[in-house]
């Protein structure tokens, strides 16, 4: 049975199927949700050795034109002007009411800015960028695949093919050739592990992926484990934990907005929603994204309403992501609660009509092991 007629295949579609992946629709593409090893084994393998993820659905965008970094600061509230060559940083596109249109990675590539945005949002992001930066070229790179290699053995496995990566630090970006293909490598990821994201020409992707998979330390990893890995790492998923209705401050992403863009900074504000976001950075936001640990074994997934007590009738927050954390060994969630609910507060999640206790905790659940 094929119900993915309207779905676009990714450059590695044939490889995923050859590896026995179960394919599902995601962000308009047919994507591998898991391989025969299964979500649990894939997750644990990434934490202990190295996992290869196909994230070619994500949008790779080049911003070209006069002072591209300065111009992009009109839409992105982070310090891009001060971003050095060969470095990248996390950021987001904001909306006039202070919400988040998408989150992204931004890197300096010569005079250009290279952005990696969420797959489901890339067309909307392009429209937003083109509208906000009419004097600049906004180019969606549709002929490049994107792979992520994550885990404690990622450096050794990638360095076997591209030795220079061993010298990179967390959030460095570099280019390197591999069999004539032009690789754009960043030392970053979405799992809470050390690792790399590798952009490369689509027609070289399968050979490169196979070369990585030939290494015994590397297993292919699907979307299922990608989700549990990022959940343990406390990273928000756009569309669930981060939306047009959540501000960066509420989402606990204030750290991504450098001093120079905050009140009193040399380039304070000047981005959509600056009034709301800058005032929340000083005065605090009414609610915030937190970690949640349910008592017992039952996972509390996205949509579970949170109550102050077993009997109160009005929810005070909700779960936005949740499931089982294989490395944590139990259920974990994240969600939004009133700012006054500090770490250790017990709330009650409504699970199938029953109120079950859940403890507010700091994120992440799994401490990242980056090479700084």
């Amino acid at each position: 049975m094929r119900d993915d007629i309207d779905l676009l295949p990714l450059p590695l579609d044939a490889l995923h199927r050859a590896l026995g992946a179960k394919m599902v629709p995601f962000a308009g593409y047919s994507m591998p949700v898991q391989y025969p090893a299964g979500v649990m084994a894939e997750h644990l393998h990434t934490r202990s050795q190295a996992g290869l993820f196909d994230v070619s659905h994500m949008g790779q965008v080049l911003l070209r034109g006069p002072d591209a970094a300065a111009a992009a600061e009109r839409l992105i509230p982070v310090d891009l002007v001060g971003l050095a060559q060969g470095r990248q940083r996390y950021g987001m596109l904001t909306l006039p009411e202070g919400g988040v249109a998408d989150d992204l990675m931004a890197a300096r590539r010569g005079d250009e800015l290279y952005l990696v945005v969420n797959g489901a949002m890339k067309q909307a992001d392009l429209a937003l960028l083109k509208h906000g930066l009419p004097d600049h070229e906004v180019i969606l790179l549709e002929d490049r695949a994107l792979l992520a290699l994550q885990g404690p053995e990622a450096e050794a496995a990638l360095a076997a093919l591209v030795p220079m990566v061993a010298t990179m630090r967390f959030m460095d970006v570099a280019t390197a050739p591999w069999r004539g293909a032009d690789l754009w490598i960043s030392r970053s990821g979405y799992t809470g592990e050390d690792g790399f994201e590798i952009s490369l020409p689509a027609d070289a992707a399968e050979a490169f992926a196979r070369a990585l998979l030939d290494d015994d330390r590397v297993l292919p990893i699907g979307l299922g484990a990608r989700d549990s890995l990022r959940l343990e790492a406390g990273m928000p998923l756009y569309g669930q934990d981060l939306t047009p209705e959540t501000t960066p401050v509420e989402a606990d992403l204030g750290w991504a907005i450098q001093k120079v863009r905050r009140g009193g900074g040399a380039r304070a504000g000047g981005f959509p929603g600056a009034e709301v976001i800058l005032s929340q950075l000083t005065a605090g936001a009414p609610r915030r994204r937190v970690g949640l640990v349910p008592d017992g074994r039952a996972p509390m997934r996205a949509g579970v309403a949170l109550y102050e007590s077993e009997t109160s009738t009005t929810p005070i927050g909700s779960v936005t992501s949740g499931g089982f954390g294989p490395s944590v060994g139990g259920p974990i969630s994240m969600g939004y609660v009133p700012a006054e609910c500090r770490q250790g507060t017990t709330l009650y999640g409504d699970l199938r009509g029953r109120r079950l206790p859940v403890r507010v905790t700091d994120l992440p659940f799994h401490t990242p092991r980056y090479k700084r």
Binding site: V39, M40, P299
Partner: protein, 120 residues
Amino acid sequence: MKYTEEHEWLDNKDGVITVGITGHAATQLGDVVFVELPEVGLEVTKGEEIVVIESVKAASDILAPLDGEITEVNEALADAPGLVNEDPEAAWFFRMTTTTPEEMDGMMDEDAYKDFSGDA
């Protein structure tokens, strides 16, 4: 052994029916991480959701295969839900008696279930 279209297996021994899920169902679910069992003594109606089973991927239910009463539940699954994936034919969920034993005659046997699930 009898099988339902909901991918349950039923093993009738002297009127006490042991119920689990098939290997096919366990594979489809993925790694099971949580099982919520019904209470012993619960009167159930065919089609009623009586077990919550959560995998790393999603939550789903096991439905009562027959009208009747729950007589025993497999508490071991609450502590070790992974048993469902390790050996689905052994990891029973509950035992029940039924007021409609004749309905089992119409259920699939092993060959019919293999055809049904595409695992033939």
